[in-house]
């Protein structure tokens, strides 16, 4: 059994409850014991670093200090934004011991910062620590026929020198996981374009325009749905979708699901565990493609010899 310190993030108990719930289900199946950080606090999200210097470090630092007390090697974070703040903070603190010492004074009651915990997003954890092979072995109900566009958003892979995970331009980890579940990951160019993120409330027109472009390209890719690993991306793409459709006159009808929901489905959990009614864009239609067999393209079976080298014999 693997043990993992878990940081759910504020939205896990609100907008992204289905993420939190299915994550816990699949982790159980994968034999990972998740220990939630007791009394965790908000990471400060965008607002803290936009407005302040020290608070932006202090808020995540408190969580890091609390996490270190649990003595697991790794901390897994559900929300991409929390993950990014935690990673950025950790990098700053580890690179500048003076700074770490200074910020530590604001939370000294919680203890000393040691810097000895590894921070990973849950996607990263699934991909690197568990691996697609193991995940594939747990699949009881393959998602064959389902075409998905994997959307990573900004913060899971960027900036590269902070995350050290996958490509910042064309990541493949989630695609590989989805293929392990039996689904088909489509070629999708807007994997890491920004959805508008923190402007969700303050600047809705920006979100609508950016998320609209992502929906457009995802639709173009031929996908039945978008798969995400970030609550904010999910809410921007899902909740705002009707508005975007109304303003642009385009019809997307692209449900936006968490990768853990699809994992749970493929692992054989009943649909009601996915909390599908929480979705603004209905999911059923997309899920109905599961089981569809794609007509095999009429490709001539390549002889072994031909594949062997670049050379081919006439």
């Amino acid at each position: 059994m693997n043990k993992l310190t878990y940081f759910p993030g504020c939205s896990a108990h609100g907008t992204s409850e289905e993420f939190d719930h299915t994550l816990k289900l699949v982790m159980k199946t994968l034999d990972v014991q998740m220990e939630e950080i007791p009394d965790w606090n908000c990471c400060g999200a965008t607002s803290a670093h936009v407005m302040t210097e020290n608070l932006a470090l202090a808020l995540p630092m408190r969580n890091l200090v609390l996490a270190e007390k649990l003595e697991n090697k790794t901390m897994g974070i559900a929300c991409a934004s929390c993950y990014s703040r935690m990673k950025v903070t950790k990098k700053h603190l580890d690179e500048h011991p003076d700074l770490a010492h200074k910020i530590n004074t604001t939370i000294i009651d919680e203890g000393e910062y040691k810097g000895d915990i590894d921070v990973k997003s849950m996607l990263q954890y699934c991909f690197e620590e568990i691996g697609p092979e193991v995940i594939k072995s747990k699949v009881t109900k393959p998602l064959t026929g389902l075409k998905v566009a994997c959307y990573y958003g900004c913060l899971l892979t960027r900036p590269k020198d902070v995350t050290h995970f996958d490509s910042p331009e064309y990541p493949m980890s989630m695609d590989i996981l989805m293929e392990a579940l039996g689904a088909k990951a489509m070629e999708f160019d807007f994997k890491t374009e920004c959805c508008g993120a923190s402007f969700s409330i303050s600047n809705t027109d920006v979100v609508e325009s950016l998320s609209g472009k992502i929906l457009e390209v995802a639709k173009e890719s031929g996908a039945h749905m978008i798969v995400v690993a970030c609550p904010l991306c999910q809410s921007n793409l899902d909740m705002r979708q009707p508005d975007i459709e109304r303003h642009t006159g385009q019809k997307f009808a692209l449900p936006v699901m968490y990768f853990t929901q699809l994992m749970a489905l493929a692992f054989g959990f009943p649909e009601k565990e996915l909390k599908l009614p929480k979705h603004i864009v209905p999911v059923q239609e997309a899920l109905s493609h599961i089981g569809e067999i794609e007509p095999t393209p009429e490709k001539v079976k390549k002889t072994k010899k031909a594949v062997e080298a670049e050379s081919e014999v006439e």
């Binding site: 504020c10 939205s11 108990h13 609100g14 907008t15 409850e17 009394d39 965790w40 606090n41 908000c42 400060g44 999200a45 965008t46 607002s47 803290a48 670093h49 936009v50 407005m51 302040t52 210097e53 020290n54 608070l55 202090a58 808020l59 408190r62 200074k102 910020i103 004074t105 604001t106 939370i107 009651d109 919680e110 900004c154 913060l155 960027r158 900036p159 590269k160 910042p168 331009e169 890491t192 374009e193 920004c194 508008g196 993120a197 923190s198 402007f199 409330i201 303050s202 600047n203 809705t204 920006v206 950016l210 809410s235 909740m239 508005d243 909390k275 009614p277 929480k278 979705h279 603004i280």
Partner: protein
């Protein structure tokens, strides 16, 4: 028209470089950041122009721009910058400078964005965590735009997308203390 050459030293450039850890002088104006930036269309000066303005020492113009407030810190620009300049750090530096030196843009959007962040931080201060519905409501009240997104609310509520109740961290006090001490640190630095 802007007259250059009046300053002996570009102290603004120095301040931005020091605060951001980047070197703005490395920018060679290729514009890759501009077409990368998802919100450059909303900025009155896109990143490339901001870099040049800092180089020219145009402090007032830079500080009153809306650009840094629109920056989403998505890091797409720095990931593609051929000179590997940490542009989000530069944006953050001028934002912090603007806050410290009390530059306040009249731009309605900037005001709203700042308000949002204030409310957010306020909420975290009170409860240790953040709650979307309350956040949304408070933002709408404080920006006097009561009905914004109201059409979403019933649906979202109904679907359980947004919950009304909320919990706080047990040690909200610890957070409040942190706020106080962090604030002091910031003042101490100035």
């Amino acid at each position: 028209m802007i007259t250059l050459g009046l300053q002996d030293q570009n102290t603004f450039l120095e301040a931005v470089n020091k605060k951001s850890g980047a070197n703005v002088l490395e920018c060679y104006q290729c514009g890759k950041c501009v077409s990368t930036c998802p919100v450059s269309g909303y900025m009155d000066f896109p990143p490339r122009e901001i870099m040049q303005m800092i180089k020219l020492g145009l402090k007032e113009e830079t500080m009153m721009a809306n650009s840094m407030w629109f920056c989403l810190t998505c890091s797409a620009c720095s990931g593609r910058c051929p000179r590997e300049i940490d542009i989000p750090a530069v944006m953050e530096a001028i934002r912090h400078l603007a806050i410290e030196e009390n530059y306040r843009s009249d731009n309605k959007k900037v005001k709203e964005i700042r308000k949002f962040h204030d409310i957010f931080l306020d909420m975290v201060k009170r409860y240790g965590r953040n709650y979307e519905l309350r956040m949304m409501a408070e933002f709408n009240i404080r920006t006097r735009n009561l009905f914004k997104d109201m059409h979403l609310a019933p649906k979202a509520l109904l679907k359980g997308k947004i919950t009304i109740g909320h919990e706080s961290t047990k040690s909200a006090k610890a957070i409040q203390k942190m706020y106080k001490l962090a604030g002091k640190l910031e003042k101490g630095e100035k």
